[in-house]
Symmetry: C3
Subunit: 307 residues, 3 copies
C-alpha cells in the first residue's frame, strides 16, 4: 500500500491511508526519543530548488532518527542547474544515488515530473502554489492528535488563501474527511483560486467565504492562520490595512470556543501576536514539532512498507 509510492498530492491518499500514517506517526514520537536503525544504509536526497528551513530540517531529522543518511542541496546556485542542466537529468542522478527523493521546487508539477523519471519514491516537499502534501499530513495529524478525528469539526482558514501552498494543501486534505464546516477568511485579493473553490464544491464539503473572523470565532474548533506576504500587494498601503485585519491576538480570541486550537504552518511574520504563544489554544509550535514523527512515518512506510 505504501512501499515505493510517490507522494505528490494529498489527494492521492484516502482517509484510511491518512489515518494509517497518523497511527504510525504516533508510534514514531516514541522512536524519535531514542533513535532507531531501521533505515540504516538508506539515503534520502533532499533536492531543494527553493529555500526552506522547517521542511528540509524536519526531513533530515526524520531520516537521521531512523538511522539513515541525507545528501542533497539547499540552493540552486551550487548545483548543475546553474550550469544549465535540465531537471530530468538532475533527478536521474539523485535517483542513482538515493533511496528516496524529497523535492521542493517553485514550479507546479516538478515533483510529478521527478516521480515519472525516478525509480526511487519521490516526495513532494512543496511545489507550485497548491501542493505540499507532507505539510498537509502534519497539519491533519496535529488536529487528529488533539481531537481524535477530523470529521465533524469547524475549521477557519485565514490569511493568504491564494498563494500559500501550505494552506491550499490543507484545504485539499480536508476534503478527504467530513468536516462540519470550513470558513475561508481572507482579504478579497487573497481569496482561494477558482480551481480550489470548484474542488471544494465538487467534493461536497460545507464551506463559506467570509471576510471577518469575529462572527464565527465562537463556533471554531481549528483556527488555521497563514502568512500574508507584502509582495502580493501592488499597493503597500493596502497591505498595511489588510495585515492588521487578519492578525490574531488575545483580543481576537477572547470569545473563542473552549478547546479551540490555533495553527500556523510557520514561519509567521506578525500574523499571530507573541502574546498568544503561551495561550492554551496555541498549537503552532507543536504542529512544527509534529513535522518529524509524520515524516519519519512516511519515510518508513515508503522504504519498508507496513510490517
Amino acid at each position: 500500500m505504501f512501499k515505493n509510492r510517490d507522494v505528490i498530492s494529498i489527494l492521492d491518499f484516502s482517509d484510511a491511508e491518512l489515518e494509517k500514517i497518523f497511527e504510525v506517526s504516533k508510534k514514531m514520537e516514541k522512536t524519535m526519543k531514542k533513535g532507531s536503525s531501521v533505515l540504516k544504509g538508506k539515503i534520502l536526497a533532499n533536492a531543494f530548488f527553493e529555500p526552506s528551513t522547517r521542511t528540509r530540517l524536519s526531513f533530515e531529522t526524520a531520516m537521521h532518527k531512523l538511522g539513515g543518511s541525507v545528501i542533497g542541496f539547499t540552493d540552486i546556485e551550487a548545483t548543475s542547474i546553474a550550469k544549465g542542466e535540465n531537471l530530468a537529468d538532475t533527478i536521474r542522478m539523485l535517483d542513482a544515488y538515493a533511496d528516496v527523493i524529497a523535492i521542493r521546487h517553485k514550479v507546479e508539477g516538478a515533483a510529478k515530473l521527478a516521480a515519472e523519471i525516478a525509480d526511487a519514491p519521490v516526495i513532494n516537499a512543496g511545489d507550485g502554489t497548491k501542493n505540499h502534501p507532507t505539510q498537509a499530513m502534519v497539519d491533519l495529524y496535529t488536529v487528529w492528535k488533539e481531537f481524535g478525528r477530523i470529521d465533524g469539526l469547524n475549521f477557519v482558514l485565514m490569511g493568504d488563501l491564494r498563494y500559500g501552498r501550505a494552506v491550499a494543501s490543507f484545504l485539499y486534505a480536508l476534503t478527504k474527511f467530513k468536516p462540519r464546516k470550513i470558513y475561508l477568511v481572507s482579504p478579497p485579493l487573497l481569496k482561494p483560486r477558482k480551481e480550489l473553490e470548484e474542488h471544494l464544491t465538487k467534493s461536497g464539503v460545507n464551506f463559506e467565504i467570509r471576510e471577518n473572523l469575529q462572527d464565527i470565532i465562537q463556533e471554531t474548533d481549528v483556527l488555521y492562520v497563514t502568512r500574508i506576504q507584502r509582495e502580493r500587494f501592488p499597493d503597500p498601503a493596502e497591505y498595511e490595512k489588510v495585515k492588521g485585519s487578519y492578525r490574531v491576538d488575545l483580543e481576537t480570541i477572547k470569545n473563542a470556543k473552549d478547546g479551540m486550537i490555533i495553527m500556523h504552518p510557520l514561519p509567521r511574520v506578525g500574523e499571530i501576536a507573541l502574546e498568544v504563544d503561551t495561550h492554551k489554544s496555541a498549537r503552532y509550535f507543536q504542529q512544527a514539532a509534529n513535522g518529524v514523527p509524520v515524516r519519519m512515518a512516511l519515510l518508513y512506510l515508503l522504504l519498508e512498507g507496513e510490517k
Copy 2:
C-alpha cells in the same frame, strides 16, 4: 598499495591498479544496495572550493553507504577563505578533523599542494583544467563494465577538448591502456592543449584529430561527448554554429557500429538530444550512477587497504 595513498592524477595509477579498482567497484555495486558499516567512525571532508553536484553528492553517497560521515563546504563564501585564509591553513584544519579529504579547486595543483600538507589521503575531485582522476576512473569503469576491457577499442572524444577537465582526464587515462585508436573531434578553438597532445604522442597511443564525426562513426566503440560552454567563445554567433555541429541526435548515430556506447560526464546542455536517452547506445546515466561504486571502492581502498 592503496592504503593512505593520495589520488592526484590518473597518471599515478598503473593499468593493474586501475583494474583492481574496477573489481572492487563491481563488488561495491552489491554493497551499495544494503549499505555497510565498514567505514563507521570515519569522516570524509569535502572541500569544494568550486561548485559541483554530481561529484560531491556521489562522494557523500559513497561515504554514507560505507557507514562513514561527511563534513565540508560547498562554497567558498561561507568559509574562512573568504576571510583571507590561505589554502594550506584550511587543509591543515581539515586534516585534523577528517580521515580523508576530497578537494575541488579552480587552480591547477591545489590538490597536490593539499596532499603535501595533509597526513590524511587527499583525493583530487577536480582541479585546474586537466585533472579529475575519480571521474576518469568512473569513465574507464563504465567502458570496462560494457566491454570487459579498455584495450583494442576505438574511442571518439568529441566537444570541448581544451577546457573540459573530465575529458582531458579520461584522455590521460586512456594512455594507461592500449586503445586501438582515439579520434579527437572538436571545433578548432577547442582542440586539445599542446601539452596533452604531446603526452599522447609520447605515450605511443594511436590518435588522430578530426573535425567531423560522420566519417568515423561506423568504427566507433565509445563515443564520449562533452559540454561546449558558451563562455569559451568571444563571438556568440561562432558558438551557435559550433554547438550545432557537435551535437548528437538519432540522425548522427544512425550509421553507428552495433554495440557502440555514448558517454558524457554530465551535466549536458543540449550536446546530446533527449531523444537519444532511450536509445540502446546511451550509457551516460549509467556512467553517472557508476560514480558511487567507484568512489566507494576508492574510499575503502584508501582507508582500509586491500584485505
Copy 3:
C-alpha cells in the same frame, strides 16, 4: 553537573568544571581515532547565522565521531529568517528537532535568548564580540595539555583585543585561574573594551597593557596572537603600519623563553609568518585540532552527563 546545561559564557564554569572538561577531552583524543556510538540517535543542530568553518566543522566532526548526526544551516539566506521569522521561532523549531543546539550569531545575547527558549542544551558557538566559550575551552585545553596547568604562567595576548571574540573569551577564561601575569599588547585603537578591563581588575588578575612585545618576550610562556582586520581602521595607512608591528616572525621570537608556545584562534591573515609554522613553539595548528576532542567532551557531558 553538566547534563542538559547551557554553555553561554566561559564565566559560567568554575576552574574545577573546566579541568573536568579537559580530562574528558584527553580521553576523547583516543575515542576520536576509532569513533564511538555513544551519541547514536542524537542530533546536533548547527544554527550558524554567521559564517564559520573551523567552529562549525569541528562541532560536526565531534558529533559524528560520537555516532550522532547533524542538521542545520550555515547561512541566513537559505532560512526562514530571510522570510522575516524571529529568532525565537527558529530556535523553537530546532529545539523540537534536535537534542542539542550550537548557535553562532552576530548579536550579543543571541545564545542566551536561545537558551531561555529551548529545552535542549544550547551551546554558544560565538555571539557578539566577547563570548565564544567553546573556543576558550579549546584554548585553555591547549595550554593545559602543554604545561599541565594554567596557573602561574605568563600570558601575552596580542593583536585585536577589542573586536576579536575568541581572544576576549580567552581573557575572561583566564580570570577563572591564577595566571602569574597577563600582558595585553595591541595598537591603541584595538585595546580591550573598558568592560573587559574592569572585569580583569575586579577578578584580581595581574595584568598590564603594553604596546610592544619585545620587552616581555623573554618571560612569556604563552603568546596568543589574533587577527587584525583591515575594516577596523578608518585610515588604510594606519592599518598597514599597525599590521607590521603586531606580526610574529622568527626574528620576533628569537629571544623567546625556552618552552614558550604560540597560539592563534585562526584564521590568520599574515599575523604569523609562514616561517614560524615549523618552529618548535608553534601550537596554533594543534590548537585547531584540539577543537574536536574538546567539543566531543562537551557534547558528551551535556547529553550523557558524567558516568
